[in-house]
Subunit: 262 residues, 2 copies
């Protein structure tokens, strides 16, 4: 039972939550909360370390189920509520904080690839990854200007998508272009594009590029894109949130692929 907030495990978790370079060097992701950890374990995540508050987990049925999974792990330690809170990034850590190795996930079935080109808001990236997994995206490429896909807030937004989605990071557009050599079209979302997203045949092998919230698509993205696609709107709204726009495009691709027609 760990009862001191000075315990080196607490320091290690805090340090990995705060430091992108350290996460990257060690290929570790910080997981907080019952649902996220249960989802990670169900998807085969390898846990390096877990601190949990037995009382808090025992208070919910989902927590009890997680306790049963954590108890036999030699790298999972019961700790006081104060210790778990000290290790956590969120205000309400739900009784468990853990470190897991970055999953090694092979690309999914050939289909849509998603390129994240400079999205800055961790909540937006998390939402995009959650939608990408939900529609069965083959793989995700994040260009080097994008927020760290393993930042704790991104991981919380993406939920278990992390452990089921192939994600490449820190890529130059040259590298992204190489990886997209086999796709038929590279569609980039752009608020001023005249081609409606639903006029595109998403049953092709295609990539979808989502630009940054503040600056839109990078020049490199525009040069690699084969077509720009837009979301027609009725109101006077100038644009949509990047995560919402990306999700609308991804679900249209799934709709067409499910129906087998556009």
């Amino acid at each position: 039972m760990i009862s001191s907030t000075a315990n080196p495990y607490v320091k290690r978790i805090r340090s990995l939550a705060a430091d992108r370079r350290e996460r990257r060097r060690e290929r570790i992701v910080v997981l907080e909360g019952v649902r996220l950890l249960a989802d990670a374990l169900a998807s085969g995540a390898k846990i390096e370390l877990a601190l949990y508050d037995t009382d808090q987990l025992a208070a919910s049925s989902a927590g009890q189920a997680l306790l049963v999974q954590l108890a036999p792990l030699t790298q999972a330690y019961p700790a006081t509520a104060r210790v778990v809170a000290a290790a956590a990034d969120t205000m309400t850590p739900q009784g468990v904080v853990a470190l897991a190795h970055w999953p090694e996930i092979a690309p999914g079935a050939p289909g849509i690839a998603l390129v994240i080109d400079g999205v800055q808001d961790p909540g937006n990236l998390g939402t995009l990854l959650r939608s990408a997994e939900a529609v069965g995206v083959m793989q995700v490429f994040c260009t080097s200007g994008t927020v760290d896909a393993y930042a704790p807030k991104v991981v919380r937004g993406a939920m278990g998508a992390y452990f089921r989605l192939a994600i490449g990071q820190d890529l130059s557009w040259e590298q992204v272009g190489e990886r997209l050599a086999n796709v038929d079209q590279i569609y980039a979302a752009d608020a001023s594009a005249t081609l409606p997203y639903y006029a595109v045949d998403w049953r092709q092998r295609a990539a979808l590029v989502i630009g940054s919230e503040a600056h839109g698509l990078s020049e490199a993205a525009r040069s690699y894109a084969t077509r720009l696609v837009g979301i027609p709107m009725r109101g006077q709204a100038e644009s949509l949130n990047a995560a919402v726009a990306g999700s609308i495009l991804l679900f249209e691709a799934l709709r067409q692929r499910s129906l087998g027609r556009s």
Copy 2:
């Protein structure tokens, strides 16, 4: 020039930002930021009070354009950066905070009505309102368990949608039902529904109901709904964020209405 943070205008803005009942009694909304205020003015918002930092506004072209609009208003006062910050709800108020009267907006062209049934997160409600305006929703009804649609964080998320969208609040399901007497179908989004959202004919007069993030649809919503609709997914994700799910449904309705076919 207002230079004291003890100025009664500062107190009045803070008080309205914090107190839902006061906002409701006075029918006032708090607006922060250049883009939101410019959007509100362009949509005919009536400003009751504005405090602005001339230096900060003068530093950007959008701010300069807003200055030109604010300067002739007798109810708009230049203030120090400290005063504007003291009146603001956000950490980075962008040099302007204002009070506007609730807009009186007539319902739009007959089409889709949106019912918000208990959404709790201000960011989610703001995103849903922004999407509703973007697709040309006729009007929005918020049931009484929903977060205040005039809370500052909702207003920031919705951007100018506020001043172009008819929004009813604090409604019982009985009242919502009366207002929906003329629609052909009341579709309620439900993660376990078997009817895919794209199999629905959204060219009818219809209402779309979005439930709360934590608890889904209320019992009342289920009893008023004529059909439950779901978003088919490929991955193992259990559900989508309420704002993302609602936006996907709203944009499918617009897609069908734009094409004139399903």
